[in-house]
Symmetry: C2
Subunit: 200 residues, 2 copies
Amino acid sequence: MLTLRTSPASPFGRKVKIAAALLGLSDKIELVDADTTSPTDTLRQQNPLGKIPALILENGETLYDSRVIVDYLDHLAGGGVIPTGWERFAALRQQALADGLMDAALLQVYEGRWRAEDKREPKWVEHQQGKVQRALDYAEAHLSTPSTTIHIGHITLACALGYLDLRMAGKWRESYPKLVAWLADFEARVPAFAKTKFTA
Amino acid sequence: MLTLRTSPASPFGRKVKIAAALLGLSDKIELVDADTTSPTDTLRQQNPLGKIPALILENGETLYDSRVIVDYLDHLAGGGVIPTGWERFAALRQQALADGLMDAALLQVYEGRWRAEDKREPKWVEHQQGKVQRALDYAEAHLSTPSTTIHIGHITLACALGYLDLRMAGKWRESYPKLVAWLADFEARVPAFAKTKFTA
């Protein structure tokens, strides 16, 4: 049995859960919540960065971060969510874009969570929001067609959009009609997406 | 010819430059500085996140981020900095740890660069510094011996320590004697490390 340290709202943890489901590995993974802000949570022994997700293997070794975990699970399953050939790099690039989108959204959420109002810096928030918007613009213009096989780039993009739904009230939906349709199609094809949805 | 958009001080760009050198690909890569804060720099067309490094291929496609670029260069060279078997996941985990250390150090640098003094939040800086310290503690205790073949985990750790030298006056050196010796050994074995050193 593998153990995944994560939290229900983590978009990076969601990536791993959906990848595991598509790879047929969900039954081999036990989910154990982690509190990233608690110094006494064992998470900091498992991952010195204190970040989720972290995957604990049967021999006690821990793997992080989400990209490394997905790479490992894909290897365990003999492939499935990381393509080969040029498509590999296109998929990994799309994962990097969507990871970057999530990071930029997360930094905006942290601005509110870690700082009193007088310590917030609008220029910083705007800088992060610029990354989110340009990533969405790019995805809207360059989406791979929904008919292709689901890969880690698609999974991560779906989790990034889901995170914007959760934390930014789905405002992106007003401006990106192709992405809205793309996500609806993804949700219809990947039951694990709805199953891993967190509602605050 | 490949084009690497980066800046002399970027630790993530340095990773790519050192990996390229070890893979024998330096001569095939032209370095072109990028300004991540400028809206008119072509970087934002090349990478919507506006982050460096980004690698422009001969067919006009761009790859990002540093992990994806290193994966691609390793593939181009037929392997060399990303091991196989279990060692692959240990190396990728070490890369993730050192990337996370660099991110946490960078966020502390940005706290000073983006905010007036009254908008800085000591608890946030402390939270990031905790990640840096735990990552250093872990590396000090679990370093792979310097006799092993150099892989992307080593390269990234060296760049992370180099970044702490550059931006945090090398204070880490007082508390981590094994890491100091490890870095000296790395520097002696990898000439590209000294060659890519940036001094402000």
